[in-house]
């Protein structure tokens, strides 16, 4: 009964740049069930946002192209849909919120007007405008905005970042989406506001049974909300794991490096942080083997010649790393 709501198989996105074609997302696969939260985590340029835009079919084309893969929502393949069909999927199927909420709202219309427009687009025909207005107010109340009626008449510039993100969430909810994709939803917000927004997202998810796909660079956000985590590096999947195991028992040296590079409670203040030497390689100049090999403390000859594939290692974790795979017998249940 609990078939995945969203299933992505081997999604590939390329970008045609002046310097040539680069593979920004190289083989991403994921499953998301109703009521589940999956976090895609990675640093800038790892392809996480492009992957999300590909799911929504909102990639800027050109330069971006989906070159392979399937995206199935409730069993229906989205990649083969035409734009008119896709428009009917966006909203009730997949909805998305972005990092910059104020920039995502239309500055010349009031919040009420924008909510009403969203409700008209996705709601049944022939609903009178007073009713729609009531629904718009209800949406603002759903996202816990005080004085909802007064806020409907406000323009976006009057909102703080946290309020604007709540309005964006209300807009996304107008169509009652099955899956909500949140791309860095709290990155621009202060920490107390971030905590409020994350709690709100989790509660709305619970009320509505939505699948939630959170894209973030922040392991703190991951720890707070995710059930499962997908770690990306240079357009490739490095590791996929239940959230608890990712923090207790990270398998990929990149994940281990990320966790170690964050100042931790147990660490003596002022002691040197362990950093990951070097930088993320350019997508146009990815090495032949593992993209992380150049920065990896565990890399050996094979890592530089051959690209590791994601392999399950038990405990719900899978990893694309020869070193991690060679110490664990595939299929063994860990812990």
């Amino acid at each position: 009964m609990n078939a995945p709501l969203l299933q992505v198989d081997d999604l590939r996105v390329s970008l045609d740049l002046r310097a040539g074609r680069v593979h920004a997302v190289e083989g991403m696969s994921l499953q998301l069930r109703a009521g589940e939260t999956l976090a895609i985590v990675g640093e800038s340029g790892c392809g996480k946002t492009l992957a999300a835009l590909a799911l929504m079919r909102l990639l800027p084309q050109p330069p971006a192209n989906i070159t392979a893969g399937r995206v199935r929502l409730d069993g229906r393949d989205l990649v083969s849909l035409d734009e008119a069909q896709m428009r009917r999927v966006r909203g009730p199927g997949l909805a998305m919120i972005f990092q910059d909420p104020i920039g995502s709202l239309n500055p010349v219309h009031t919040i009420g007007t924008q909510l009403v427009e969203a409700l008209h687009t996705h709601g049944p025909a022939g609903v009178d405008s007073r009713q729609t207005w009531q629904q718009a107010r209800q949406l603002l109340e759903d996202v816990r905005i005080p004085n909802a009626e007064a806020r409907l008449h406000d323009y976006p510039h009057r909102l703080s970042g946290g309020m604007a993100q709540r309005v964006m969430i209300a807009l996304a909810l107008a169509a009652r989406p099955r899956v909500l994709i949140a791309d860095e939803p709290t990155t621009a917000l202060d920490v107390t506001i971030q905590a409020q927004i994350l709690r709100l997202l989790k509660q709305l998810q619970r009320e509505r049974g939505m699948g939630l796909l959170i894209i973030t660079h922040d392991l703190g956000v991951v720890a707070e909300v995710a059930d499962r985590v997908l770690v990306m590096y240079a357009g490739r999947m490095a590791e996929q794991s239940p959230v608890e195991r990712l923090f207790d028992h990270p398998l990929h040296p990149y994940t281990q490096g990320l966790l170690a590079a964050t100042p931790a409670a147990g660490q003596r203040p002022g002691s040197p942080l362990s950093d990951i030497p070097g930088q993320v390689p350019e997508l146009a100049a990815l090495p032949v083997g593992c993209a992380f090999a150049g920065r990896c403390p565990c890399a050996f000859a094979r890592c530089r010649q051959e690209r590791p594939q994601l392999q399950p290692l038990g405990g719900g974790q899978s990893v694309a790393c020869f070193a991690a795979q060679s110490v664990s017998i595939p299929g063994r249940t860990l812990g």
Binding site: E43, G162, V191, A195, Q203, L219, E224, A261, T262, R295
Partner: protein
């Protein structure tokens, strides 16, 4: 020895809808070699405070004494000389590095402004680049050819050019990815130890502040609401705002688990153009009384060199969740006694 003394500093920004009083009577001292953290949320005035130390923000009242010079009462000509004592590292190095100059020119520029001959300035620039971990060949390239972390190294090299005593770092690692952020934090620590620099480290990232800073100032709506040694403040925050800040730091599964209880209504910073009377935090404070809403609390001293601006005498023993990385739930490497 005291390097910087700030006394009752006010910074006002004129806006179309009135004067925004970004900093409202802030005082603190900074010792030589010390790293002082300044934390608070956007709009609390922490950047205005940092910039005012270089007279880059309009000081309306108060005094800034740096190494015996009164920065707030100095002629523009003298100011240029004294500014070499205090330099700034910015968050957005896309905006702070002129894209049309080569990196060598950018790093040599402060020296040129101070009258160092071109050839000598450029030679010193190469040294500085090496010191921050870049190859001298970087001098011939333009800022856009570098990654964010490397550009931040360039910004740091430029800030060090005049051998300042004080470095004001305004969110220097906030725009960087985690793996690179650790490199820059380590670089700042190394440089500080080598050069005996004092640092004012402005950040909203509590885990970084805790890692780097000996002492911390917590700011809310233009005022300091709490200050003290970082460890004490972290382990037993005295001000309800500091508690809220520390409690909001991400923790494992908290949002997931507390979603059952329901999400709270949006409560945010009051309008800085029309601050409420009394304590600015009263509207968000779970402990606020009638007095808090009418009377502005002043900073008062607590034990262990701490200060708090709160009418209430909240017990300090409340254990705080530790850092924004408390999600790692590591055992504490050492224990310290809360004050």
């Amino acid at each position: 020895m005291t390097l910087l003394q700030v006394h009752d500093l006010h910074v006002d920004h004129p806006t179309p809808s009135g004067v925004l009083r970004a900093v409202r009577g802030v005082g603190f001292t900074l010792q030589r070699g010390e790293t002082l953290g300044l934390v608070g949320e956007s709009g609390c005035g922490k950047s205005s405070l940092g910039r005012s130390l270089l007279r880059l923000a309009p000081v309306a009242a108060g005094r800034v004494m740096l190494d015996g010079h009164e920065l707030t009462a100095i002629t523009p000509r003298r100011l240029r000389q004294v500014r070499s004592l205090v330099q700034m590292v910015f968050q957005d190095n896309n905006a702070s590095l002129n894209p049309r100059h080569r990196v060598g020119t950018l790093v040599a520029q402060p020296l040129r402004v101070q009258g160092v001959p071109r050839r000598e300035a450029e030679a010193r620039a190469l040294d500085l680049l090496r010191r921050v971990g870049l190859s001298p060949s970087a001098a011939e390239r333009y800022p856009h050819e570098f990654s964010g972390g490397q550009r931040q190294r360039i910004g740091i090299a430029r800030a060090l050019a005049l051998q300042p005593r004080l470095l004001v770092c305004d969110e220097p690692v906030s725009a960087l990815d985690v793996s690179v952020r650790a490199q820059i934090i380590n670089l700042l620590q190394d440089l500080q130890a080598e050069l005996g620099l004092s640092m004012l480290f402005i950040s909203h990232d509590l885990s970084v502040v805790r890692h780097l800073c000996n002492r911390v100032l917590v700011m809310y709506l233009g005022r300091i609401v709490e200050s003290g040694p970082t460890e004490f403040v972290w382990r037993s925050p005295a001000h309800p705002y500091t508690r809220a800040l520390l409690a909001a730091a991400p923790r494992r599964r908290r949002a997931a688990d507390s979603a059952d209880a329901g999400a709270d209504a949006a409560i945010e910073l009051p309008n800085p153009l029309a601050p409420p009377p009394g304590c600015a935090f009263a509207g968000r404070c779970p402990h606020a009384t009638a007095r808090c809403r009418s009377e502005q609390p002043l900073l008062r001293a607590l034990a262990n060199g701490r200060e708090v601006a709160c009418h209430l005498d909240l017990p300090l023993a409340v254990p705080a969740p530790l850092t924004s990385t408390a999600f790692r739930e590591k055992p504490h490497a050492r224990s310290s006694q809360p004050g």
